[in-house]
Symmetry: none
Subunit: 169 residues, 4 copies
Amino acid sequence: MQLFAERGYQDVSVNDIASLARVGKGTIYTYFSEKEEILEACVSFIFRSFVEGIKKALRQSKDVESFLDTFVDTFLVDVHINSRVLFAFHRRVHKDKKKYECVSGEYRKMMESFYNKYRGEIKVDFKSMYALFTSFLMASYLAYESMEPELLKGVVKKGLFYSITSSPK
Amino acid sequence: MQLFAERGYQDVSVNDIASLARVGKGTIYTYFSEKEEILEACVSFIFRSFVEGIKKALRQSKDVESFLDTFVDTFLVDVHINSRVLFAFHRRVHKDKKKYECVSGEYRKMMESFYNKYRGEIKVDFKSMYALFTSFLMASYLAYESMEPELLKGVVKKGLFYSITSSPK
Amino acid sequence: MQLFAERGYQDVSVNDIASLARVGKGTIYTYFSEKEEILEACVSFIFRSFVEGIKKALRQSKDVESFLDTFVDTFLVDVHINSRVLFAFHRRVHKDKKKYECVSGEYRKMMESFYNKYRGEIKVDFKSMYALFTSFLMASYLAYESMEPELLKGVVKKGLFYSITSSPK
Amino acid sequence: MQLFAERGYQDVSVNDIASLARVGKGTIYTYFSEKEEILEACVSFIFRSFVEGIKKALRQSKDVESFLDTFVDTFLVDVHINSRVLFAFHRRVHKDKKKYECVSGEYRKMMESFYNKYRGEIKVDFKSMYALFTSFLMASYLAYESMEPELLKGVVKKGLFYSITSSPK
DNA sequence: AATGAATGAGTGTTCATTCAT
DNA sequence: TATGAATGAACACTCATTCAT
């Protein structure tokens, strides 16, 4: 994850990974059948942490606002690394919907739980809401390096709240 | 631009570009001294269109809201291609601030004009405002494929308006 | 000649030649059908100057020693450039005896005149004498940069005189 | 060495080397980090053999003449290949004195030992002597193909002896 | 006659992947 | 199971040569 975050997918060689992991290059292929699988594993790991974040937020929240409060805090932990890895992945599997769904399936399901739980408050359809979450959260990576963390959190929280609860008229 | 948008920088070979352009590989090097220069030219082209958009929006606007109204419409033309190319570029020149400033300089200046013109309404500092524009606009790429264009425009306009004019408290 | 002397054959591009000559690249091909012909023309030019040198030396000399005195002086003019060009050529046409004989034919004939004129003094066969001239003169390039010109001339004159007039026993 | 000797540096591709060595092109890069390093390795190998030759000659000799007798015999072994490789190298690193000194350093030191041991007999300064050795020995390559080996050896031995022991007046 | 834009074969080099040990 | 030497397809880039103007 460290390497993919620092340099993206293409600029990291299997050798780099093996070196950092202090194993032989061949050993990598005992556990992954190709380089892309390593990236997938990283992304799965990240999505699992998102799932945990949503679970926790769902448990502790009583409305969309309090959900976002907990979730965004969780999400923005490690945003520096996570989002870069996700970008690398996004670019990479762009057309291979299957692969994407495979690693993000559980996350999507949790988002559905959230959608269903607060269906009353949410004014956009699920697809749009999902897209808005993705967009806002990804965008926070781009802004991350130039903005105060607290300001960023505020913007993301309010921005998300605003866009999914206002009726688009 | 088409190729960089579809596949990013690394997954496009100079040969691919030459083939699509129906010229010989060598011909490319008559006009660009290295592959990266092609990407830079694309990005410069995009930024020039942004600059035009801002100029027009500044001329026609009388407040932040009307500015955003015009600007976002202009910006979201070709967002499909533009933002992917910008992403490819972003990843690529990430650390080479010089190169980035070189192509985005004029755009930044126009944003400064906007900032100065409506300084009264805008509640965040310039750096944050710039980061927010970048983030929102980039993020619209990610959302673009899953959302209704009109819905997206609305979200971006309101989201931007909201995040730069609310005091972060 | 300047370029070939400075950089050898391969490190000089047709473009370099055209630029230095202040003509278009295409113009080169009006006068030479391929790059190698340019080198050949240079070498022909050099050999013609050698031929002149031998002619003059033959006219003015009455024995091997006085011949060498005149010839070596003539030869070592421009040795810096000439020998580098000849080296470039030598390497290049190494196996193509035809090409070599073509440009050096007249020079060889003059050497034969010299050989025949002073056959009494010369103790090696023509082939060896020819090889020794070539060797000594070429070698002077390698020594040229580290030795006093006058010392070099002395060594070449005496070395040549010695090696062709001593009987090899 | 065979390929560099036959065709020089530029006309040998890494592919040619790999093919002749019956290994994959990539394998070459496991052992050499760039093409030039291969040439350097060849030249180092040759210089090591020269160093051995001088050591042996110094051990067995009691004057300049007997030194040359042993040394030239050693030197002219493989002259066919060695000198062509050295020429390729000479042209190549011509301006990069560092690289040249790096591979020829030990050889130069041995020549200094020789110079110091027989300082009484030698009439030129070290630099000139070194240049003369280089020139004569290199020149023997050019003559090699047209002269009887024994005749050549004789010429080189006597030529060298003569040029370094006669006072240049 | 002079040009230089266009070309593509050829180069050095990288790197994901394989496989014998 | 762990390894890294070996591999060759693929890449960015160069340059002698052509040819329409």
